[in-house]
């Protein structure tokens, strides 16, 4: 019950914070979203470790979930490196990230891979064998992760259109 409400709290904040993403500076929001993704992956790993430790999920399911979160983390690190390469500092010393059209295809490919990794995990037999209540807690967190990845996709797609 406690874990269920903890993931619900994360979902509430994700929903509100992503509402404001469209209003901010796209480059800054992009970096904020990569920081959010890193945070959710960290929370997800802690949750999987605890659930496996208390026997709520099988080791096989925990391994699949950890491998998927690791893949998302690797992709997110790549996005951070790409964002760093588009960092621009103006004459007054203000730093911004300018997302150019070139490179956006690569970013979208990285983001699509992350989304596919999460969706593959959700339909994996080991993952589906987790009892529904426990699985829902993990799926709630994965949905928050997916919502943030969708926000990143929207930011890159908007930069591509400009």
């Amino acid at each position: 019950m406690k874990r269920k409400l903890s993931t619900a709290a994360i979902s509430v904040v994700v929903a509100f914070s992503l509402l404001f993403t469209a209003c901010g500076d796209p480059g800054r929001e992009f970096v904020k979203d990569t920081d959010r993704v890193a945070g959710y992956v960290g929370t997800g790993l802690t949750m999987i470790n605890r659930l496996e430790g208390d026997g709520s999920i099988s080791t096989a399911a925990a391994l699949k979930a950890t491998q998927a979160l690791n893949q998302v983390n690797i992709a997110n690190r790549e996005l951070i490196q790409v964002a760093k390469s588009y960092k621009v500092t103006d004459a007054s010393g203000n730093t911004t990230i300018v997302l150019p059209e070139e490179g956006s295809a690569r970013m979208l490919a990285i983001l699509d891979t992350s989304t596919a990794t999460i969706n593959t995990l959700i339909s994996n037999p080991d993952f589906l064998s987790i009892n529904p209540n426990t699985r829902k807690q993990i799926v709630d967190l994965l949905n928050s992760l997916n919502a943030t990845l969708k926000s990143l996709i929207d930011l890159v797609a908007a930069a591509k259109k400009k």
Binding site: L5, I10, D35, L45, A62, L63, I97
Partner: protein
């Protein structure tokens, strides 16, 4: 009575988690781009180390179970 206490406890956890998440968002809002990149990089590096340790531990556990079986 136990059920009521469990509910109060769970709601307490919900609001504590909500408060933590709001604090994290507020912290992000006050950070510069360089600080945000630094924060994301540090958390990602920590995630990578944690995931690597967990993957190795789970694989070893599965291998041990298979050997016993």
């Amino acid at each position: 009575m136990d059920n009521i206490l469990t509910w109060i406890n769970s709601l307490g956890v919900f609001f504590l988690q909500l408060y933590i998440e709001i604090l994290k968002e507020a912290k992000r809002s006050g950070m510069s781009i360089d600080e945000l990149i630094d924060s994301a990089e540090k958390q990602s590096a920590q995630n990578e180390a944690t995931a690597s340790e967990m993957i190795n531990r789970f694989k070893a556990k599965l291998d041990a179970n298979n050997t016993v079986g």
